[in-house]
Amino acid sequence: MHELGIASSILESVQSAARRNPGAHITKVGVKIGELAGVDIDALQFGFECMVKDTEWEQLVLDVESIPRVQRCPKCQHEFRMSDYDPQCPRCGEFATQCIRGEELDIAYMEVDE
């Protein structure tokens, strides 16, 4: 539902990078979207395409990397992919494990044609 706003923020970041680097032609922007970010990737792609259509940014490619949720056990330091909302450490059985990945809503890179 708010993916258009997210798409707009991504495009603004690209535009501001372009302003800071006159002459650089940005062709691709890579983002990382965590499983816990609450962002639907298809809706984001669709919103982004609608936004750049018929503009000077029409050729800009949005590359989305989906980041799964990873937990770390505070007792045995084991890191594991959390599936099915089961936070229990598969190695030592600790329940109160911490989320260390999966909240990302980050711009990772931009590709430039020079």
Partner: protein, 226 residues
């Protein structure tokens, strides 16, 4: 062709503003909470009951967000505390800019508690930091027990879950234990309180939670300014 690593938050602008708000709240020893739930879970009624129970001298203010209408602000204004409606005009969440704009005419040094009632929506508000000390998610007994699993983001980011409308438990198929277990699967450290705004059950515990957090906010301010 070359690739430039960026490592920047997509919502960087919102994040920067939110951090500025957080710093202002900290300087003034204000506790700010952000109430989030699906439409109809009882945010506004809970706020009415909360304001009703507040000491009349309490230094509390409310910002209430909706897509349209000033109805909620009117409902909340009758308790004598400052209330402002944020009409988003269709936007499904509040962002830090909207909060900042609506704080303009308020003297923050005259506040101890700022309650933000977000737009009824379990998805989008979870992405936008408003500078709050804590997000609070409401789940009502007329919803599904699996909501924490369907909308994990907001349950993961909330420090407290209020299970609302518990007076209806005898009449609805909702199993409170299942809902809580689902919430703890998503967020094992989350606190959970049972409340009914209609009967008043659990409201003492909720008020005590707010008071304890306000004391904590004041302590933090003292520590930093000392």
């Amino acid at each position: 062709m070359s690739r430039v690593e960026v490592e920047k938050k997509v919502l960087n602008e919102n994040q920067i503003l939110a951090e500025q708000l957080r710093e202002r709240y900290r300087q003034h020893g204000i506790l700010c909470v952000n109430l989030i739930s699906a439409p109809g879970s009882g945010k506004t009624l809970l706020l009415e009951k909360t304001l009703e129970r507040m000491d009349k001298r309490a230094r509390v203010a409310v910002l209430t967000g909706d897509l349209q209408t000033e109805n909620d602000a009117q409902r909340l204004a009758k308790f004598g505390f400052p209330v402002k409606q944020i009409v988003t005009g269709g936007t499904c969440h509040l962002d830090a800019r909207m909060v900042e704009r609506h704080l303009v005419n308020w003297e923050l040094e005259e506040l101890d508690l700022l309650i933000v009632e977000n737009v009824g929506n379990l998805v989008c508000p979870s992405s936008y930091d408003l500078g709050e000390d804590a997000k609070i998610v409401l789940l009502s007994t007329t919803e599904g027990e699996d909501k924490p699993l369907k909308y994990p983001s907001i349950f993961f980011k909330s420090e407290l879950m209020l299970l609302t409308k518990i007076d209806l438990l005898p009449y609805v198929p909702f199993k409170a234990e299942v809902a809580k277990e689902n919430a703890r699967r998503v967020h094992p450290q989350m606190e959970i309180l049972d409340v009914s705004s209609t009967t008043g059950e659990g409201l003492d515990a909720w008020m005590a939670w707010l008071e304890a957090r306000q004391r904590k906010a004041k302590e933090k301010t003292k520590l930093v300014s000392a």
